[in-house]
Structures are given as structure tokens and as C-alpha cells.
């Protein structure tokens, strides 16, 4: 019977990580629904970008308050989860503070003290974030596009992180108090919990302290598993996906939009006076012509765009600098990504249910993202500049415009006029190309 703890622990551990792996695989599968895109060039620059932007948070600090607090939570949370190693070993083998036997007394004290300070910083960060988000009225965090789940999601995460850190400190305090009474061997140093909670805990009975230590330990452990599995349903996936997203980020100049190769071929053929327009297409040429220009649904987007949709933190830095959004238009780059993710999830569920995708009569275009939003974009790249993890909502907008124009001829009338002019007069206005040099003489 004495192993019952360890067995329960092991079951939870395996189930927790198993479920988590399952979620990750599902995300991976869904991302694979997109078109392949080659972003394997410039590897060293990609590693460097990921290190700087995702690990180094170089873009976060552009907004200093949020940036610093985020840094607390991020660094704190990551390092505190080194604890997880200790928890796992202790949990499986029934040891107590396993790392102390490896680290040695002095270093283990330093280690635990650091974790304590970080835990406190995380708590501070989380509390301030909660206040900012709910009471302080930062516009991008209180916009109505966040009503419902996105708002609750953000709050839940803050609450979970808060609870985890409190459990961590509680555990340490109980441990410390028991060490003071000589009931546990002396391991580690606990500057924060001993001063913050220590005075209260010193009134507790031995039994209650033992119980508290164990309970907080379990809570911390189960909490982490829960948190991990919660990620899949949350914008907090970014704590994992920010890394691949920055690695696969677009490294070209922001102004460079991709050229469709299939179109090039066709136009070269048109322009070539020697080409025989009636000639049978060369072997294999058919497959060169894409089934579709631009994007109507998630299947037409590329895999990096879909990865972006899962990575978006919904922080709204993009939307808060978007000229269209600032001036009251319907476009919000954040929503473009959120809706892409919603649609992607819907398609994923459809596949889970049916084994493969069965047409559900819906599309990303119109059912999720409207033309009005798409046409409001000035392609100014303010959103891509602002995004702390280098996501690219503009590329999705652009691909969907392509679909509207090239597949549906559904551009606004004035734009059709402009395009006709470009085609016929080589200028967006109705002037004659022969008059192009008239400015020199008037």
C-alpha cells in the first residue's frame, strides 16, 4: 500500500503528458492541412531570430510596462518549471527534494532562493496583468472582439498561474517550518515564503504542516499538468508556438509580396511572339497550374500562416496600430488570425468526426472573414511590425484578396476600373500612355 502515492502519481503523469502529446499532434495535423511553403533557407538567421525574438523577447519591450511584466512571468514560469524535474523524480521514487542531493547544500539553497524570488515576480506580474486587463482599460485588451472565451481564457490563465505560484510558496513555507522544527532535513533556503507566509505557518500543528506540504506539492503537480493540457484550448499556446513561429517567420523585406510562378509562365507565353497558343500543353504542365489563385479557405493558406493562427496571443498590438482599425473600420488583424484559427479548429473537428474533411458548406471567406474587412487593409505592415512574435496577418489578407479578384472578380467597382486602366493604359488612371512625358513640357 505504501506505493499507492507513487502509482497514482505515475498514472497522472503519463495521462497528463499523453493528452498533451495528443493535442500537439492534432495541432500538427491541422497545420499540415495548409499548403507547403519552403522556409528552410537562411538557417543561421532563423536561429538567431528565434533566439532574439522568442527567447530574448526583443519585441515585447517595445511596450515597456507589458514587456517587463511579461518577462517576469515568462522567465519565472520557465525556470520554476525546472522544479518539475524534481517533482517528477520525487513523485516516482518517493524521495524528498531530490535535487538537493545532486546540487549540494550551497547551490541548492541558491537554487531554491532564486525560484522563490522568481515566484514572487510571477505573482506580481500576474496580478498587475489581471488588473490591467480587467480594470485599467488598455484599449486593445478591452475591445469587444475579445468578449466571451478570449477574455475568460486570458483571465483563467492568470488565475491558474497565480494559484500555481501560491501553491509553490505554500509548499516551501510548510517545508521550511518543518525544517525549523527539525522534522524534515534542512534543504534549501526560502527567503520569500519564510517571511511572507512563515509567521502564519509557525502557528500550525506538525500534522497540518505535513498535510499542507503534501497537498501543495500535489496541487502544484496536478496544476502543471492541467495547465499544459489547457494550452491547447487557449491563446497561451504561444508559449510553445512562438518558437516555431519566429523560426519560420518571413525574413524578406516587408514590402516584398510573393509572385505567383504559375502566372509568370502564362504571361511569358502570352508575350512570346513565337509561342503557339494552340499548342498542346507540355507534358506535366497541367499540374503546374494551381487549382486556385489566392485563398478562400484554410486549405489554401500555407502552413506558416496556419501556424501563425495557432500562435497568436491575441495581445492586439497589431490591431492597436492598424490604421484601418484605428479609424473605426471593421478590419482587425488580430481577428483575422483568431478567425483563421477558429475555422481551422472547426475543420479539425470535422476531420476527427468523419475521418476526413466532409464539406460543411462553409469557408473562411464570408463565413468568418468578410470582404469589407479585407478591402480595408492598406498593406502598411504596421501589424507585422508590431507583432511581438513576428506573425503575418497581412499575408492572409493579401491571399484572400487575390482569391476575390482572380477567382471571383469581386473587387470593388473602383478597383476594377483601376485595374482595367492599368491593363489598357499602363496607368491606374485613364490617361494615354503616349502622354506620359507631357509633364516635361507643361
Amino acid at each position: 500500500m505504501q506505493y499507492i502515492d507513487n502509482v497514482i502519481f505515475l498514472i497522472l503523469l503519463v495521462a497528463g503528458f499523453g493528452l498533451f502529446a495528443k493535442s500537439l499532434l492534432k495541432i500538427y495535423r491541422n497545420i499540415q492541412l495548409g499548403k507547403e511553403i519552403n522556409r528552410s533557407d537562411k538557417k543561421s538567421e532563423r536561429w538567431e531570430t528565434m533566439a532574439r525574438v522568442a527567447m530574448g523577447q526583443s519585441k515585447m519591450v517595445k511596450r515597456p510596462v507589458a514587456g517587463i511584466l511579461h518577462l517576469f512571468v515568462y522567465v519565472g514560469f520557465i525556470i520554476i518549471n525546472i522544479e518539475l524535474i524534481e517533482i517528477i523524480v520525487d513523485g516516482i521514487f518517493g524521495t524528498h527534494r531530490f535535487l538537493s542531493s545532486i546540487f549540494g547544500h550551497a547551490f541548492y539553497s541558491f537554487f531554491t532562493a532564486t525560484l522563490e524570488v522568481l515566484a514572487l515576480l510571477v505573482i506580481i506580474g500576474v496580478v498587475v496583468f489581471f488588473i490591467r486587463r480587467n480594470f485599467y482599460g488598455v484599449k486593445r485588451l478591452t475591445m469587444k472582439e475579445l468578449f466571451g472565451w478570449p477574455k475568460h481564457d486570458a483571465n483563467w490563465i492568470l488565475i491558474i498561474e497565480f494559484a500555481l505560484m501560491i501553491a509553490f510558496l505554500k509548499m516551501n513555507t510548510a517545508d521550511w517550518a518543518l525544517q525549523q522544527r527539525g522534522l524534515l532535513p534542512e534543504h534549501g533556503s526560502f527567503p520569500i515564503s519564510s517571511t511572507l507566509l512563515g509567521p502564519i505557518f509557525s502557528n500550525f500543528s506538525d500534522g497540518f504542516l505535513f498535510f499542507t506540504e503534501k497537498a501543495a506539492w500535489w496541487f502544484h503537480f496536478v496544476g502543471i499538468l492541467f495547465f499544459m493540457n489547457y494550452l491547447y484550448y487557449s491563446k497561451h499556446l504561444h508559449i510553445i508556438l512562438a518558437f516555431p513561429s519566429t523560426w519560420f517567420a518571413n525574413l524578406d523585406k516587408k514590402g516584398k509580396f510573393n509572385n505567383l510562378e504559375s502566372v509568370t509562365k502564362e504571361i511569358k507565353l502570352m508575350m512570346d511572339p513565337n509561342a503557339d497558343p494552340y499548342a498542346a500543353p507540355a507534358e506535366g504542365a497541367e499540374s503546374d497550374v494551381p487549382s486556385k489563385f489566392g485563398a478562400e479557405d484554410i486549405f489554401d493558406l500555407n502552413q506558416v500562416q496556419l501556424l501563425n493562427a495557432y500562435s497568436c496571443t491575441e495581445c492586439g498590438r497589431c490591431t492597436s496600430v492598424c490604421p484601418a482599425n484605428i479609424t473605426g473600420k471593421k478590419l482587425s488583424p488580430r481577428l483575422i488570425l483568431m478567425k483563421t484559427r477558429d475555422r481551422l479548429e472547426e475543420v479539425g473537428k470535422n476531420i476527427d468526426k468523419n475521418g476526413k474533411f466532409v464539406d460543411d458548406g462553409k469557408k473562411l471567406l464570408n463565413d468568418y472573414i468578410t470582404k469589407e474587412e479585407l478591402w480595408a487593409c492598406t498593406t502598411c505592415n504596421a501589424c507585422t511590425e508590431a507583432c511581438p512574435i513576428l506573425l503575418d496577418p497581412l499575408s492572409i489578407i493579401f491571399e484572400m484578396r487575390r482569391f476575390l479578384v482572380m477567382e471571383q472578380s469581386a473587387a470593388p467597382q473602383e478597383l476594377n476600373l483601376m485595374m482595367t486602366n492599368v491593363e489598357n493604359n499602363a496607368a491606374p488612371w485613364q490617361y494615354n500612355q503616349a502622354d506620359r512625358l507631357n509633364w516635361a513640357n507643361d
Binding site: D252, K253, K254, G255, K256, F257, N259, L260, T264, I267, K268, M270, M271, F293, G294, V321, P323, I326, T327, G328, K329, K330, E372, W375, A376, C377, T378, T379, C380, N381, A382, E385, F398, R401, R402, F403, L404, V405, M406, A411, E414, L415, L417, M418, M419, V422, E423, A426, A427, P428, W429, Y431, Q433, D435, R436, L437, W439, A440, N441, D442
Partner: protein, 261 residues
């Protein structure tokens, strides 16, 4: 006429090639306001003796507005035609006063077979200044407040924030920066083919929002580096009835004025 314009065809007939091709662009060729920018730039080049050619009737739209609107066919038709012409003249270096032309020629033409060195007119003039060929005396603008509106397609799209500012500083003016400048600049509202259509419904037009910000500094001049920004800001200034007090001018117009050209 106080400036000379020579076409690439004329140069070719003489068996010569100019130092640089000046890509005028559609706005610069046809829009009445933008034509003044074109001329100011030519005057400066003429004065300091930079040999440049234009394509004239052989120039077509780069295809930028069609591309941003989503029409890849029309874009590539323009691009491939232009590339053919440019390659026929063996053009090496292109300068343009329009950031949209600049961006397209520089970034989107290479994969279609058009490899040129492309510079924005502010970059070109900055280099000429550093080489000592262009001298800038700022007398006319001494101490006057100027604010610069970053064109998205020069700034964020291509990371060029310094060249326009370096030129403006030489005018001895008081350069005031808007809160939204450089990487945080706010679009004038014309990019992405918005110039050619009515804006979507909202509370405000983008150019009004931007002009409001610029005017809050009570500048004498709002400097621009893009013919489309110029139009948008000019309309904005008119909207606020400030067109008497505040001028909207391209940087080359300011430089030409400083030089009394």
C-alpha cells in the same frame, strides 16, 4: 522650360547611357500635384549635372496597385513588359520618387528577371550629398518647424528611415517627430490600392487621423517622400482649413526651394 529631359531612347540613339534611369511613375507623370515633385527632382539633378534618362512613353505602371489589390495577372503583365524594356536598355541603376515603384522594382522584379539597383530619390540625393556633388543651403527654412511623415513603403517595407531625415536636417529646419514615426509610423491611407477607392465605413478617414497628428505640432511644413502621401496629407490639411498656414511638400521640393530652383 528650365530643365532638360532626355529619354532612354535618345541616349541610345547617341550610343550613350546615362548615369541613372529616373523612374517617374504614374503619379509623377500624370497627377498635377505629383508632377511638381517630378520637376523639382529633375531641376536638382540638372543643376548638379547628374545625367539621367527617363523612359517616357515606354514606361508603364509598375503594377503595384494591381498587385496589392490582388490582381497578379495585371501586375505581372506590367512587370514583365517593363523588365523587357529596362533590360533592352541595359539599365543598371534606377531612381524613383515613388516608394511604391521603388518597392516593386526593388523587391518584386528580381524574381521575374529584373535585376537593378533601385534607390529612392532621398537615398540618391543623400549619396550625392555625401559625395559632395549636392550642396544644401538651408537659409529659407532656418528654424522653421518641419515634420516628416514616413511612407510605409519606404520605411517599414524597406527599412529606410534615415535618408529623408538626413536631407531634412541639412535644411537647418527644426525637425519635429510625430509620436507615430519610423517603425511606428501611421499610414496615410493610400497604400494597398486604397488610393483608388472610397474607404470602407469607419469613424474617420485615415488621412484625417494622420494629418491631425501632424498638425498638432503646428509645423510650417509637413514633409513627404511619396506622391500618394502627399495627396493624402494635402487633402487632410485642406480638411482642417490649414492649407494657408501649413504646406505639404515633398523633400525634393524643399531642397529645390532652398536652392531657389
Amino acid at each position: 522650360m528650365d530643365f532638360n529631359i532626355k529619354t532612354m531612347a535618345e541616349y541610345a540613339a547617341e550610343g550613350k547611357a546615362p548615369e541613372v534611369l529616373f523612374w517617374v511613375g504614374c503619379a509623377g507623370s500624370f497627377d498635377d500635384r505629383a508632377k511638381k515633385i517630378t520637376k523639382a527632382f529633375c531641376k536638382i539633378l540638372n543643376k548638379i549635372g547628374v545625367e539621367f534618362g527617363v523612359l517616357g512613353q515606354e514606361e508603364s505602371c509598375t503594377g503595384d496597385p494591381a498587385k496589392r489589390a490582388g490582381n497578379e495577372f495585371v501586375f505581372q503583365m506590367m512587370a514583365l513588359t517593363n523588365i523587357e524594356v529596362l533590360n533592352a536598355y541595359e539599365v543598371k541603376k534606377i531612381v524613383t520618387a515613388c516608394p511604391h515603384c521603388f518597392n516593386t522594382l526593388k523587391n518584386e522584379y528580381p524574381s521575374l528577371g529584373g535585376h537593378f539597383e533601385v534607390v529612392h530619390h532621398t537615398q540618391f540625393l543623400k549619396t550625392l550629398m555625401e559625395e559632395g556633388r549636392l550642396k544644401i543651403e538651408g537659409g529659407a527654412f532656418k528654424g522653421k518647424k518641419i515634420t516628416f511623415h514616413d511612407p510605409c513603403y519606404l520605411g517599414r517595407a524597406n527599412n529606410e528611415y534615415e535618408a529623408p531625415r538626413i536631407l531634412l536636417e541639412k535644411l537647418d529646419a527644426e525637425l519635429v517627430e510625430m509620436k507615430r514615426c519610423k517603425t511606428n509610423g501611421l499610414c496615410c491611407g493610400a497604400g494597398g490600392a486604397q488610393m483608388f477607392k472610397e474607404p470602407e465605413k469607419g469613424n474617420k478617414d485615415i488621412n484625417i487621423e494622420r494629418t491631425e497628428e501632424a498638425l498638432s505640432f503646428e509645423p510650417k511644413v509637413i514633409a513627404t517622400g511619396c506622391p500618394f502621401c502627399n495627396t493624402m496629407m494635402t487633402d487632410g490639411v485642406k480638411h482642417f482649413n490649414k492649407n494657408e498656414e501649413v504646406a505639404v511638400k515633398d523633400i525634393v521640393e524643399l531642397l529645390a526651394e532652398a536652392d531657389d530652383l
